[in-house]
Subunit: 417 residues, 2 copies
């Protein structure tokens, strides 16, 4: 079989992008929805046509296996096909398809005798990277890396009370296979920022992730009639929550530009009737920094804001959960391998941090991991207008192919490890 061509990559990507497509060029493929399941079926069919054997584990991660060395562990390469609601078509899906093409190109080199593998190879499509329907994000890779329990994940419910297990079953995405054991991992993704585009650099080699702290917060007030309750008697949870939304936003000004991000992306009002003073508001607060000290300072200030709001004597605040994703480094051996692979492909590269979370953040705590970026036009992300130029998509496939080839040769093993 001939190896897949750049033209085939672009036509495959166009086909994949039509699944769950939105009118303005994006996709809506939230985890375990029918559109997500259709994208998954498309990938399985692609695996079938290209000689990869599909396995699906309990939490809905799918793997396409290429066995070269019976009994050997696997080099794993992939990303995710799920999306935010009404988001861009590149986030995750590009990385899965690039991994699939890179894997088949490496397999052709093995067949041609130009590459002698020491490992087997698996393309992976992680379940629920995005975390918009089911929290937390990075779910499937979290189970793979042992950070989350499969049973707890399967019991996690969305806002309508449907569990991950029920949702996977309903759309035919559940499996029973054991996941393949990995000895290294590689992922490519759009940058979701504008550094590469602004500097005209073709490939980003990720050295560490920003630290992130995520809070689920509830403001508790008292339900009352908007038309019959005097202001003095009200304990309005939404007024309290609005103060915290603004406080978190303004907190970022207390630090050097670019050192702190703070956002409330999700907020729910109960009972949410036009004529009822809100009794309860729950929201997700997302705070990130490249500097763990800044993140800790921000945490202290946020806690002080919660206390200051309670001290007004009107509402109470509970922090329902806090989770920290610490800033940790990708292994030097992977960084060096990625830079060598970029050179193999004749593309410029630079080292950088990732602000966003990726499944590779979980995998790098388990095995040596490579994380690559391609440029994003204007840095647009989690938006239908997200875009990467065809040339950059194809350049990324070239570099990822070189990364996979080097991984198969055993070059991602820890030196001396």
């Amino acid at each position: 079989m001939a190896e897949p061509t750049p033209a085939e990559f672009l036509s495959d990507f166009a086909e994949l992008s039509r699944i769950g497509a939105t009118p303005r060029g994006g996709v809506d493929r939230e985890a375990a929805t029918p559109a997500h399941a259709e994208a998954r079926r498309w990938l399985r069919s692609w695996f079938d046509r290209n000689g990869l054997r599909t396995r699906v584990d309990r939490v809905g991660n799918a793997y396409g296996l290429l066995e070269f060395v019976p009994g050997a562990p696997y080099a794993l390469v992939g990303s995710h096909l799920d999306s935010q609601p009404t988001s861009g078509r590149f986030d995750g899906a590009y990385g899965v398809l690039a991994a699939a093409h890179a894997a088949v190109r490496a397999a052709r080199a093995v067949e041609a005798g130009t590459l002698t593998p020491q490992l087997n190879l698996a393309v992976v499509d992680w379940f629920n990277e995005e975390g918009s329907r089911f929290a937390p994000s990075l779910m499937g890779s979290g189970v793979y890396a042992g950070k989350l329990g499969a049973d707890a994940v399967l019991a996690t419910t969305d806002l309508t009370g449907v569990s991950v297990g029920e949702a996977l079953g309903a759309v035919g995405m559940a499996g029973t296979d054991d996941p393949p054991p990995a000895t290294g991992y590689a992922e490519i993704h759009i940058e979701q920022g504008r550094i590469l585009a602004d500097e005209g650099v073709q490939i980003g080699v990720v050295t560490a992730n920003w630290a992130a702290r995520k809070y689920m917060v509830t403001v508790h007030g008292e339900q009352a009639h908007t038309g019959a309750t005097h202001m003095a008697y009200r304990r309005d949870a939404l007024v309290g929550a609005s103060r915290l939304v603004l406080a978190a936003h303004e907190l970022t000004d207390a630090f050097a530009p670019g050192m702190l991000l703070a956002s409330v992306g999700q907020l729910s009002v109960a009972p949410n009737s036009p004529v009822v003073v809100p009794a309860r508001v729950t929201f997700a607060l997302d705070v990130r920094s490249p500097d763990p000290d800044v993140l800790d300072q921000a945490d202290k200030r946020i806690t002080a804001e919660f206390e200051a709001l309670e001290a007004r004597g009107v509402v109470t605040v509970t922090v329902d959960s806090v989770s920290l994703r610490p800033s940790t480094s990708y292994q030097d051996v992977g960084i060096a391998l990625a830079e060598a692979a970029a050179a193999d492909a004749g593309l410029s590269c630079r080292r950088m941090l990732t602000m966003a979370g990726h499944d590779s953040v979980n995998l790098k705590d388990l095995v040596p991991t490579v994380m690559l970026f391609v440029p994003s036009v204007d840095g647009v992300s989690h938006h239908e207008a997200e875009r990467t130029e065809d040339a950059d998509l194809l350049g990324g496939v070239e570099v990822l192919t070189a990364v996979v080839s080097r991984m198969l040769r055993g070059q991602l093993q820890q030196r001396g490890g």
Copy 2:
């Protein structure tokens, strides 16, 4: 047949309160839900047992008819069985059951020859007074009074896209009957404030309603990644909306205490994902005053707040709809009749305004209308803890019986009209 006793009223009310009951003593009977339909079936069965003939019109208003004078118009008396989500058991339901008991007691007097009616009598249970699931509120009475079109009402959808017509059909609450023509209307309701309780007065006679202006507002920002988009590049719709929630709240301090209420009870974030900067926030702003001039001044200030937010250059604001419920008076003939009825029953009364909207606000623009209040413990409203003492419930039934008896004698017709 004997007339229903106070003990029967309390046991009927306890039975009705069990339908859609919540653990903390309230009810959840939002419009056209199964619990609301069950309460309606309970009422029809009560009508059947007590000799009232049921009619249901196209928009789900139910009437229990007592015909005394063939061909004569009707004295109408009633309220509503729907509730806010997780609300109190008295709001609306008390008025429907009090009307039913008052009507049957009047019918017994007609049978006994102690009351000679000039009119027929109908108990009414209006559809969707609350407006929490389907906006606007006062829906069924709005159609009856000719303020809303039945076709437009039937096509109105809830947040999940289900229309009023579909919802009524699904729970068996739709009808095809013509509504009975009214020549006068009476309603009794809990006060939802603390004036009667604080002053130890037993009956409130409503002379006018507060003016209310309701805005549906959307703040438009730009969807982005919470973890990868620098603060300077964000157009966060929730940050903008939070400024408006606080501005509306603080606006009330600009007027004398008790002269202005402002609340945002309903607010929806899109796409509402923990890791997406909000693209769009839609909210319902409810502003009320006993003084139309204050309401107009508030409107100017609110418009100025929208403009000030836009002037920051980050988000845009659209006012999707504004509706004004003007302050208008109940007819003098009804006020005098209500005061005479309270004297008939030996109860103290005072004149007062209604802050909340009631179906009687629609009816009074069509026919002479009486609106009565009974005391609310601590003024609690739209809350499971809402409560009225049994003695006050029974006192209200006495006065309403006297009102209905006087209406049947033709005493609510406009003098000289």
